[in-house]
């Protein structure tokens, strides 16, 4: 669901880690443990690899020691802010085959939700992901694609073009994304300003989401540090 998924959908990211979204069931965690054992992966940092931390929204970080994956970082998550439950992600996934290996990627709309974080680097990528999808499909779009673009495009010029091509912006989408009421005015500088404000609200919501989780991580670090001193 990380860098390689972004490459597939159109952004360009050189990400050396592998991000996995998983179902945190005991059976699945056992399977993942076996796979990680093959990679000689060890948990780095906190939290430990336990379902309760994954279900709370933490990520568990591993570093691989197998000679063919030496130093590769694997981050495992099961719950992400603003992203649907794993069962829904799974039904919407994209499956690709590469060198006889099957790779399951998070769908583009789900990836876009997952990328709405507090980090600077995610926002230009998010913009590109939706732009690529828009350019590739604007000639013959489906209803789902039009809805997705209205809700997720972050490019003022393309939002205006979309509104013109559709004739009107559906009222229920304006309720979901209030900045769409400015699209019809074709005022790109106003749109730019409201897009920036929307981004800032999302980033703040992400910081808010992480506040208690970061506190918990800090506690775990302290307890680990005091255990290692004993």
């Amino acid at each position: 669901m990380g860098g390689q998924a972004c490459v597939f959908y159109g952004a360009a990211e050189f990400s050396r880690d592998t991000d996995l979204a998983i179902l945190a069931s005991s059976e699945n965690l056992a399977r993942l443990s076996n796979a990680l054992r093959d990679l000689k992966a060890q948990v780095i940092a906190v939290p430990p690899f336990e379902a309760k931390y994954l279900r709370k929204g933490h990520a568990v970080h591993f570093s691989c020691h197998h000679p063919e994956a030496l130093g590769m970082r694997v981050d495992v998550m099961t719950k992400m802010r603003g992203v649907d439950a794993f069962s829904k992600l799974w039904t919407r996934r994209t499956t690709i085959s590469s060198y006889d290996t099957t790779i399951e990627l998070m769908s583009l709309p789900d990836l876009v939700q997952a990328k709405k974080t507090q980090r600077d680097k995610d926002w230009p990528m998010l913009r590109r992901l939706v732009e690529v999808n828009y350019f590739a499909n604007r000639e013959k779009p489906t209803r789902e694609q039009i809805r997705f673009w209205f809700l997720e495009l972050r490019t003022p010029e393309l939002l205006v073009e979309l509104a013109v091509s559709q004739g009107r912006t559906p009222a229920q989408l304006i309720r979901r994304r209030p900045l769409l009421k400015n699209v019809g005015t074709a005022n790109e500088s106003l749109l730019t300003k409201t897009l920036r404000a929307e981004e800032e609200r999302e980033r703040e919501a992400d910081r808010e989401y992480w506040r208690p989780l970061k506190k918990e991580l800090e506690k775990l670090r302290h307890s680990r540090a005091s255990q290692s001193k004993r």
């Binding site: 390689q4 490459v7 597939f8 959908y9 159109g10 360009a12 050189f14 050396r16 880690d17 780095i44 940092a45 906190v46 990520a59 970080h61 570093s63 691989c64 994956a69 030496l70 130093g71 590769m72 970082r73 981050d75 690709i96 590469s98 507090q118 980090r119 600077d120 680097k121 590109r128 732009e131 690529v132 350019f135 590739a136 604007r138 490019t155 010029e157 393309l158 073009e161 992400d206 992480w210 989780l213 970061k214 991580l217 670090r221």
Partner: protein, 76 residues
């Protein structure tokens, strides 16, 4: 209709025009070159990530590759 070139320039537009699988393959080629040049899989610290712990020791060498040094650097 706005063209990708108008919006993001020639280079990005060329990337945009690739199919998803073509982008995937191009990325695989870049990985091969990266490893051929001795690139490492160790990640850079992501200081903006909520998981970032400044006290956590990093295994990564400063320049991303064991034995690699900066020989020349711009002043900026």
């Amino acid at each position: 209709m706005i063209s990708p070139e108008e919006l993001v320039g020639e280079e990005w537009a060329a990337w945009y025009r690739l199919s998803p699988l073509e982008r995937w393959r191009e990325s695989e080629k870049l990985w091969e070159i990266y490893f051929h040049l001795g690139g490492s899989l160790d990640t850079e610290p992501d200081t903006e990530s909520p998981f970032f712990d400044p006290r956590e020791p990093s295994t990564r060498t400063v320049n991303g590759r064991p034995g690699m040094r900066v020989l020349r650097r711009s002043r900026v």
